[in-house]
Symmetry: C2
Subunit: 419 residues, 2 copies
């Protein structure tokens, strides 16, 4: 049997640690050079496979690959491009297998969320049908923490740490200013469907009195009166109020607050965010001075505040993906299994891709306090270990030393294909 | 001569390192217990002095005072309350001196920006007039970096580091996504009048091709056509565009972009930010998918990313303030004097409060590139050392260990005074 090559592909929104997974894949593959030939990285995700744009990682030094462990963003490029139905988009799936054949790919590592599991699963099926079997291994990634089965998703822990640290710091600021100035601080966080990231804000406080005093989850319909009462109560009691709000919070009728019909001077609809909508409400109804922040991409790229747990897990799933491929497994994903809460103990288990695909794990109702504005002890026990440990990048001249790869493309062997 | 007490007061917007200055003041005073009695911290700034709400720091342990060095926010509380004219607000000034007398205050440390220098100067004058001389020492602080004479302002270096690191990280993210999704990322930063904080974003890039590709300064009137051309050029050339924008950017007619007349669904004017206004413009005129962030208070409380240079300087001005008071100086402020760019060398010099008051130091035109969208080498040489060195807080269970003081109030000795 000739030695097969490997193809690694980043998919969907990137995270601060997805490159740690890439590092785990490439370093582990390099340790098995007798079994795995070249490791290619798809340029801009699955689009790059369709276009036959494969980055040959053999041109990258060991030191540069090692530096991926502490470099945020998606080093090979990612994409939002969902391959849907095998019938509807059969041409695309067949193209993928053609590219695999042309470059002797025997191992396909697809690093993404629920959609990506679905794609990897279908790729594996069609490759089989076409008589060119490939080990299709999904590798988990998403700051949204909404994949089933796995204890957590690499990328989430660092985002969670960033959110908890940020709201803790900003709350100290607003508390200092509240007597004569800003009384309400609102921080908007990601998580359009599931409130995991918003919940992480709750880790900033250890007691009921600690900020944030209010968390708004996408799972809980927005109750304007209850929210305003709570803000007022907090300002009365503590002098200020600190709020973490998910971008996905909705009115009881299902509309997003972020799409509240905000218009610019020309009457054009203005999209997002929810933080200014809430701030305006606070001003109109309670008259408090406010500040608001939208951390947006900062929260998913803040590698400077990496959770050591998260970085270790991101690397571990990359390593495990290669190990699984070498064991001849197919259509599977290495996942994280929790063995103990405190001290946190975990190992790597294996899930079937078909079980990972297209299932969103929402925040359970018993992770949210009865009043809907905070997290329960059960939630805290779950979240706490995920932000633990500090994994700092190296610095030079005051800035983190993030690596840029050479990204040399392999020679194309097939006709062009329009994507 | 009986031993006099000291009063330390935080003023205006707080910073990530203003407590490092408090630490410098209190630790240095404790080393001179033979000359300085109790150190009081004014609760919520000058308002607390007027109300005779003085926190007795003798109740705080050495360990807790030492922990102020790495704790953001304003530990005693700050305020936005400007004492204006000596004639108009004579009653307030006289009240301050009454409180000084009642608590045997011989040293008054006022930690703030330009307005605060003005206040401290006037307090010193009226105390003299009233025959109760007090050593009034200003201590510099502001993330805006807009004080005259001093090389930089404690608080700015850490904010600058946060902005440079954040835009560097987020740019890696948008670059990864740009092929099929977000092409433009816009990060709004503080600095309503002076572009120092926006300029710090420029440190993220080492070469002309590095992000951010565009910086918008309050000193440069917004040219919509030139901006959009530049965004398009960047997307054409690099695949994406990363923008740092100051909240203080204005149209040529002087209106803030942030006050661009945005209305909510009910037709109410919605205040700030400039990032969504620009994002909307990019979408309307160029059709690119965008993301935007407003870091707001996060940028001035991000002690987790402290600049070692900034922390050292913040402590040093606190220490120097006490030393100056003990030397019998009055109406002065310790400032930072630059001796060399690289390696950065600095020491503490002394400025007169009257020269510090009410002067805003703007970004010089030759710190901004000719096209108005970037920083020059001269600016880079100035800014670079201010973000250097990492001064991490200690962590426990994944979060920085920020201290909370006991904040025991001294017994009041005077009748109430309405503020």
């Amino acid at each position: 049997m000739t030695k097969k090559n490997a193809l690694y592909c980043q998919s969907g929104g990137v995270t601060a640690v997805i490159n740690a997974t890439a590092c785990g894949v490439i370093e582990t593959a390099r340790q098995h050079a007798d079994e795995i030939g070249t490791v290619y990285g798809a340029k801009n995700g699955i689009i790059g496979v369709l276009r036959e744009e494969l980055i040959d990682t053999a041109h990258e030094s060991d030191a540069d690959i090692a530096a991926l462990r502490h470099t945020p963003g998606g080093v090979f490029g990612s994409c939002r491009y969902k391959l849907k139905d095998l019938t509807e988009q059969r041409k695309e799936y067949e193209r993928l297998v053609e590219v695999f054949k042309a470059h002797n790919i025997g191992y396909f590592f697809y690093n993404g969320g629920g959609d990506s599991s679905d794609t990897a699963y279908k790729v594996s099926k069609i490759a089989d049908e076409m008589g060119y079997p490939v080990a299709c291994i999904g590798v988990p990634k998403t700051i949204d923490n909404d994949l089933p089965i796995t204890d957590t998703c690499p990328g989430f822990g660092t985002t969670a740490k960033y959110i908890a640290v940020s709201i803790k710091e900003a709350s100290l600021d607003v508390e200092s200013m509240a007597e004569s100035s800003t009384k309400v601080f609102i921080m908007e966080v990601m998580g359009r469907h599931a409130g995991w990231i918003a919940a992480a804000g709750g880790l900033a406080g250890q007691t009921h009195d600690d900020p944030p005093q209010i968390i708004l989850f996408p799972e809980i319909p927005f109750d304007e009166t209850a929210f305003l009462d709570r803000v007022k109560h907090s300002v009365d009691q503590y002098g200020y109020c600190s709020v973490v709000v998910s971008e996905g919070v909705r009115y009881p009728d299902g509309r997003f607050l972020a799409d509240a019909g905000t218009r610019d001077a020309f009457g054009h609809a203005q999209l997002g965010g929810v933080a200014p909508v809430l701030a305006n409400l606070v001003r109109e109804k309670l008259g408090y001075k406010y500040h608001w922040a939208v951390s947006d991409y900062l929260q998913r790229s803040a590698r400077h505040l990496g959770s050591a747990t998260d970085v270790q897990q991101a690397y571990a799933v990359g390593k495990a993906a290669v190990d699984l491929a070498l064991q001849g497994r197919n259509s599977v994903m290495p996942v994280i299994r929790r063995l103990n809460d405190s001290p946190y103990e975990w190992d790597i288990a294996v899930a079937e891709l078909k079980d990972m695909a297209n299932v969103e794990k929402m925040l359970p109702r018993d992770y949210i306090t009865e009043d809907g504005f905070g997290i329960t002890d059960k939630c805290r026990r779950y979240l706490q270990p995920l932000i633990e440990g500090e994994d700092y990048p190296p610095y030079s001249r005051g800035l983190p030393k993030y690596v840029r790869l050479k990204k040399v493309l392999a020679e194309k062997k097939l006709p062009n294909f329009d994507v």
